[in-house]
C-alpha cells in the first residue's frame, strides 16, 4: 500500500482539486477555504541509509527577498510543529519550500490518517506564509 497509486486514491478521496500523477510522484493542486489553492508535490523515494521509503511532501511558500528570510526560516525550523523550510536555489529568484517527510520502514505500513493530515497541514501552512508575504495566490 506504500505506492503512488495508493497515495493518489487517498488524496482524491480527501481533497478537492486537480491531481497529476506519475510513477513516483504526483502534483496536487488542492483547493483551500476562501477559494485559494496550493500545490503540493508528493514524491516517494527509497532511503539511502536504511530499508525504508520516504514520502516527501513539498509546497512552495514564498520568494526570498533578502537574507532575513533565510535566517528567519532557519530559526522557524526549530519551532515548526511538523516539517521544515528549505531553500530552493534552482529558481530565480530563490524560493522557500515547506517540506514534510514521512519515513516508512519496509516492514511497516503507511497510516492513511497521517498522510492526509500532513498534506492538509502542509498546504494550509504554506498558503498562510504565502498570504503573509504576498497577497497573490502564486503557488
Amino acid at each position: 500500500v506504500n505506492t503512488m497509486e495508493y497515495l493518489h486514491s487517498l488524496l482524491k478521496m480527501n481533497f478537492r482539486g486537480k491531481i497529476d500523477v506519475g510513477k513516483n510522484e504526483l502534483l496536487a493542486r488542492i483547493e483551500l477555504q476562501g477559494g485559494r489553492k496550493q500545490t503540493v508535490h508528493v514524491l516517494i523515494r527509497g532511503s539511502k541509509y536504511c530499508d525504508a521509503n520516504i514520502i516527501e511532501l513539498k509546497s512552495r511558500c514564498c520568494v526570498v527577498r533578502n537574507a532575513t528570510f533565510v535566517r528567519a526560516a532557519l530559526k522557524r525550523n526549530m519551532v515548526n510543529q511538523i516539517g521544515g523550510f528549505a531553500l530552493n536555489q534552482k529558481t530565480s529568484p530563490p524560493v522557500i519550500d515547506l517540506i514534510q517527510r514521512i519515513l516508512i520502514p519496509h516492514h511497516m505500513q503507511l497510516n492513511p490518517e497521517e498522510i492526509t493530515q500532513a498534506v492538509t497541514f502542509l498546504a494550509w501552512q504554506a498558503d498562510l506564509i504565502e498570504r503573509n508575504s504576498n497577497e497573490k495566490d502564486q503557488f
Partner: protein
C-alpha cells in the same frame, strides 16, 4: 524530586533580570499543570504516612499561580587556622630557635588565597619556621633506650628448640632409652646411654640464648630513635570552607526570606571579590543588584562578614542573584481543599494547607486494601501510573513522559539519560549525543523535539544550511541561539507529535537522523 535533583526546564525556564519584579500570574499550560501534578504525586507517594488516605492518587489541581522569586546568595570563603606542635627525633643536630615576631597565623605561613569557594572544606597543613625547641623524649625520659619487651631486660631468650630444658629427645630411640637391633633384640640405646635424651648443643644445654631483639636487654627508643631528645616544631592547620547564606524576595509573600529554596535557583548574576579589599564597600553594590535585593544583600553582608583575626580570615566573597519559579497550587482531594507551594530547581514542596488526615483502623484497612488492589490493577491507581511515578521518583524517566517512551527506548538497547528538557540519547556504538525535548505545542498536543548539534552557525553559511534541507531524508537544519544570545548553532531537528508514538518507528527515525547529522559533519557540508 528526582534522584539527581535535576532542573526540569518546563517548570524552571530561564529568567531575565527584568522579570524578577513581575507579579504573580495564572498557569494554564496543560503540560505544565501535568508536570506539576506529577511532582505533587511523587512527593505525596513518598510522604503518604503524613497525608490523608489516597491523597497521592486522588489529588487534582484546581488552579495554579506562578510567581518568580529572586534571592541573593552569599558565599563567603572563610579560612580558619590553628597552630599545633609536632615532635620529631632530634637527629639533625641543628634547630631554629629564633622567636616569632608575630602570632598571626597568616603571616607565619603566608600563602596565596585564590577564591575557590569549595563545596567541601579544603584541609592543609603548613610547616612554620622558627620557635623550635628541644625537649626530653617523653617515652624514654631522655635515656634514649627502652627495656626490651621480648626478654624483659634480661638479654636472654628461652631457646625454642629445646623449649628451655637444655636437652632434646634422643633421635635414635625416640626417647625410649632402648631400641631393637637385628629386628628381634631389644638393647639399651647407645646414643643416649638409655636416658632417652641428649644434650642441646646450640644453647650448650643452658636452655637459653642471647635475645636477638636487643642489645643486653635494652633497645633504642622508637620515638626519639635513640637520641633521647625531641625537636619541637610548629605547624599550621588550615581549613578553607564556604559559608553559604541567602535571603529571598517573594513579591506575593508566599515564602519567607529565609526559606530553604532561596539558594536553589538559576544564577542570573555573579560578582566575586577577593577579600579583604580596602575599597570594597557594600554601597557599591547598589547599582549592580536588582533594587529589591540590595537591602537583603546589605543586611546579609553586615551580619556575616567577620573581622580578620590571627586565626581567621574571610578571603573571598561571591554574590549571586538567583531566580526560580514558585507555583502556588490550589488542590482538592474528594472536595477537601489543599494548598501547596512548589519551587526551586529541586522542586521542593512546601505545604500551606492540607486536608485533615483520617485516622483509625478503618483508614488503615482501606489503605491496605487499596495497595493490594493496586497490585492487581484494580486500585485507585493504574499500573501504568504507578510505574510512571516509580520511575520519576527513581530519576529514570522525564516528568512529561507519561507514555514511558524513555524506558521503551532503553528496552530497545538505546542509552537514555534524563535531562532538564527530556532525554539525552546515545545510540549503540555512536558518539554524537541526541537531545530529546518535550514541548507543549497546543492545549492537547505535546511535541517531541529531537536535536543533534551540527556546529557553529556562521552567517555566511545560512543559505547553504537552508538549501541542504532540500536533500535530507529526515529532519531539517535549524538555527538555535544560546541563552545569552551571544552565539548561534546549527542543529539537525525533528519535531513530531508525542502522543501514540511507536518506539520502534521512532528509533528508526533517530537512527536516520543520526546518519544524516553524521554525514553533514563528516562531509563538512556546512563549512
Amino acid at each position: 524530586l528526582t534522584k539527581n535533583r535535576m532542573r526540569i526546564h518546563s517548570l524552571q525556564p530561564g529568567f531575565s533580570i527584568e522579570e524578577l519584579l513581575d507579579g504573580e500570574a495564572g498557569v494554564s499550560d496543560q503540560k505544565l499543570l501535568n508536570d506539576l501534578l506529577t511532582v505533587v504525586k511523587v512527593w505525596a507517594k513518598k510522604d503518604s504516612q503524613n497525608l490523608p488516605d489516597f491523597f497521592d492518587s486522588e489529588v487534582e489541581i484546581v488552579s495554579a499561580r506562578r510567581q518568580v522569586c529572586s534571592s541573593i546568595v552569599l558565599n563567603i570563603q572563610r579560612e580558619e587556622r590553628a597552630l599545633f606542635p609536632t615532635l620529631v627525633p632530634f637527629k639533625t643536630r641543628k634547630f631554629d630557635r629564633k622567636q616569632w615576631e608575630t602570632s598571626d597565623c597568616f603571616e607565619l605561613a603566608p600563602r596565596d588565597l585564590p577564591c575557590l569557594f569549595p563545596d567541601v572544606a579544603i584541609k592543609k597543613i603548613y610547616p612554620v619556621v622558627g620557635n623550635e625547641e628541644l625537649v626530653l623524649c617523653q617515652t624514654c625520659g631522655g635515656s634514649a633506650q627502652l627495656v626490651c619487651s621480648i626478654c624483659d631486660g634480661s638479654g636472654k631468650q628461652t631457646h625454642d628448640t629445646c623449649n628451655g630444658g637444655g636437652t632434646l629427645r634422643c633421635s635414635r630411640c625416640f626417647g625410649a632409652g632402648r631400641h631393637l637391633t637385628g629386628g628381634v633384640n631389644l638393647v639399651t640405646c647407645t646414643a643416649c646411654n638409655g636416658s632417652g635424651s641428649v644434650a642441646c648443643d646450640p644453647c650448650g644445654s643452658s636452655g637459653s640464648v642471647v635475645c636477638a631483639n636487643c642489645d643486653e636487654g635494652a633497645i633504642d627508643c622508637s620515638d626519639c630513635q635513640g637520641v633521647g631528645k625531641m625537636l619541637k616544631r610548629w605547624n599550621i592547620r588550615s581549613e578553607i570552607s564556604t559559608v553559604k547564606l541567602h535571603k529571598l524576595y517573594c513579591r506575593s509573600n508566599w515564602l519567607n526570606p529565609n526559606a530553604a529554596m532561596g539558594c536553589d535557583g538559576i544564577t542570573l548574576q555573579e560578582y566575586r571579590y577577593a577579600l579583604p579589599v580596602p575599597t570594597f564597600e557594600i554601597e557599591s553594590l547598589k547599582n549592580k543588584l536588582p533594587p529589591q535585593l540590595f537591602p537583603l544583600a546589605r543586611d546579609l553582608l553586615e551580619h556575616s562578614l567577620r573581622p580578620r583575626t590571627d586565626f581567621q580570615i574571610d578571603s573571598g566573597l561571591k554574590l549571586e542573584v538567583q531566580a526560580f519559579n514558585v507555583y502556588r497550587l490550589e488542590l482538592q482531594q474528594n472536595g477537601q481543599p489543599a494548598v501547596l507551594l512548589v519551587g526551586g530547581l529541586s522542586n521542593e514542596i512546601v505545604p500551606v494547607q492540607l486536608p485533615p488526615r483520617s485516622k483509625g483502623l478503618v483508614s488503615q484497612v482501606l489503605r491496605g486494601m487499596d495497595s493490594a488492589l493496586n497490585l492487581v490493577g484494580l486500585g485507585t491507581r493504574s499500573r501504568a501510573e504507578r510505574e510512571f511515578l516509580k520511575l520519576v521518583e527513581a530519576g529514570e524517566i522525564y516528568i512529561t513522559d507519561t507514555d514511558l517512551l524513555g524506558p521503551a527506548l532503553r528496552n530497545l538497547g538505546v542509552q537514555v539519560e534524563v535531562s532538564s528538557v527530556g532525554y539525552q540519547i546515545t545510540l549503540e556504538g555512536k558518539t554524537l549525543p541526541i537531545s530529546l525535548g518535550f514541548v507543549q505545542e497546543s492545549k492537547e498536543q505535546i511535541l517531541l523535539r529531537t536535536t543533534i548539534t551540527l556546529g557553529q552557525g556562521d552567517r555566511e553559511n545560512f543559505p547553504r544550511a537552508l538549501a541542504i534541507n532540500q536533500y535530507l531524508e529526515t529532519g531539517f537544519i535549524g538555527l538555535v541561539e544560546s541563552e545569552d544570545r551571544s552565539r548561534e548553532t546549527f542543529v539537525l531537528i525533528d519535531n513530531r507529535y508525542y502522543k501514540n508514538l511507536e518506539p520502534e518507528r521512532f528509533l528508526a527515525v533517530l537512527q536516520q537522523l543520526y546518519r544524516e547529522a553524521n554525514a553533514i559533519i563528516k562531509e563538512k557540508r556546512l563549512l
